[in-house]
Symmetry: C2
Subunit: 328 residues, 2 copies
């Protein structure tokens, strides 16, 4: 294992220190392991997300004006604790209440639920939205129901813009749920990732095979198949997503994320094929993002997310945002 770290035990704390010095506009609470926005709160709904680390820039890279108020950072591929989420809620609530944005993994869901109880006992209003957009498999290693992946980024951006406009907690929750309900994703892995504390690849994938529908922790997907061309991979992913949900007849937001180990030139080559596959199905992409947004450490591969949008969602998507990883 070749990693640019001091030791597997300290990588998270070391990375938080790097985030703090690289981004003086953010506040890092090292005790609670939360990354906080310095955007003014004044009664606005606070948006909190979080999860295991190793998926950067998700979620800490999305903290800032117009997106998340705070991100709770767990150990690599490990849910953050209810204490972290409670600390984030107490530090960001300014009377407007808190929306938890939760990816559907059992530990995350349980811990955010517990944190919600604790926060409500302290008089903080909390709502939750759970993202479960990965069409690959119904249940998986750490998930009952579908896994939550790339749609989370779009939920965080759109709900963040709604919160910045001063909408109420129930309104922000409603738009977050609308995005979550209308988003679908699927990915493919060409290689495994290596968790620093484990020191060897999370799974074995022969040199001539790929995993269709892989999870972002290396959980099994739908099938192992021979390594295929970008064209065939794009076709398979798009067919899986669009046979699960009808994206025709409305503008679509498309996110193609690399999984960490795939060069941008390959991602763009794949995105060209995805655009063709969508166009052939009369699906109209209104907005797109291509790059590393939801990663799995050093895994080679990509994951496509489509969200059915409307004028309101597009307007919130286009609203100004200022985070380290999403900014316009």
């Amino acid at each position: 294992m070749k990693k640019l770290v001091n030791s597997p035990a300290t990588v998270l704390q070391d990375a938080l220190r790097g985030v703090a010095v690289a981004h003086p506009e953010l506040t890092v609470d090292f005790d609670s392991r939360i990354v906080l926005s310095s955007a003014p709160r004044d009664g606005r709904v606070a948006l909190i997300s979080g999860g295991g680390s190793g998926h950067e820039p998700l979620h800490s890279g999305f903290v800032g004006e117009g997106m998340l108020s705070a991100a709770c950072v767990g150990e690599i591929f490990t849910s953050p604790t209810p204490d972290q989420m409670l600390a984030a809620a107490t530090q960001t609530d300014s009377g407007g209440g808190v929306l938890f944005i939760v990816k559907n993994y059992t530990g995350d869901v349980l811990n955010f639920d517990m944190a919600r109880e604790f926060a409500e006992e302290q008089g903080i209003r909390v709502e939750s939205v759970v993202v479960a957009d990965d069409v690959a498999v119904q249940d998986s290693t750490w998930t009952a129901g579908r896994r939550g992946v790339g749609t989370t980024v779009i939920v965080e951006k759109v709900a963040g813009a709604a919160a910045a406009e001063g909408r109420t907690l129930s309104q922000v929750k409603a738009i977050a749920e609308k995005v979550a309900d209308n988003g679908r994703s699927m990915g493919v892995a060409l290689t495994s990732c290596t968790v620093p504390a484990v020191g060897k690849p999370s799974f074995d994938l022969p040199e001539d095979e790929m995993e269709i529908g892989v999870g972002i922790h290396g959980e099994p997907g739908r099938k192992r198949v021979p390594l295929a061309s970008a064209h065939d991979i794009a076709e398979e992913i798009v067919e899986s997503i669009t046979s699960d949900y009808d994206f025709t007849g409305a503008p679509v937001i498309a996110l193609l994320t690399g999984l960490g180990g795939t060069p941008l030139i390959e991602l763009y080559a794949t995105y060209g094929e995805i655009a063709d596959a969508l166009s052939a199905r009369e699906i109209r992409v209104a907005r797109s993002l291509v790059g590393d947004y939801v990663t799995s450490l050093d895994m080679a591969g990509c994951s496509l997310t489509l969200v059915r949008a409307d004028d309101e969602i597009l307007r919130l998507w286009d609203a100004p945002v200022n985070t380290s990883a999403v900014r316009w």
Copy 2:
């Protein structure tokens, strides 16, 4: 070799197609393989850069308002041709002249020189600035003198802001040279990269070693040493750069780029150590960027760039910019 491509022969053309559909605000000239900004020109100096591909987002990701007018895209790790550069010059000059921003590799320098002659024959005023900031080695596989790496990003941003302000060609050239002259870089590789058309790693690096001072095409650096901690790597890189140039007593712009295969969590962990090493030397970082900006396909590792700035350079750095990879 596991790559998300159709074939090694088409990866560049396929990627340009992806860039075109993902970024409708850009114009891709597929015949000339140049990516063009749609920002208004009206007499402003046009900034043109380019080089071999495989280093994305450099340079095509930096095309747009406030940065490059055009990027000439060569095959992977191969210089673009004078014809491409001439096409970029004729398509972007609006009377203010053209500045070529050239990384110091023999092919790039020769071809940009030739393109300059051709353009001048057509009545286009052209100036060039050559970036040669890599302190690792004096000459290298494809370079007489030092190699050009991360300082290029800062030259493109600062000169782009100067051009957007309407400065003259000689003024834009002067500020570009000032940044280039006062920037230094060095990198480290933990793994090789794999060029699709070659199909195997560009060099062998044992599991327990790293290459200090590696080039962005995998060219040899200063030495092979046992794999070290992020702390020790940061110390070695910072010592190499700061013993070459005195960065004390002025604000510094710091860029830590991943080389393509290193997860963001490791980059941040390393950046924390770099910040310590700089602080111990009384070097004051005024602005920083951490992420993948100058990559070497799927190489694991990082490269640090420091530029000695002043109030004017910082103001130009902070000016609005709207490209796919640098935006604020």
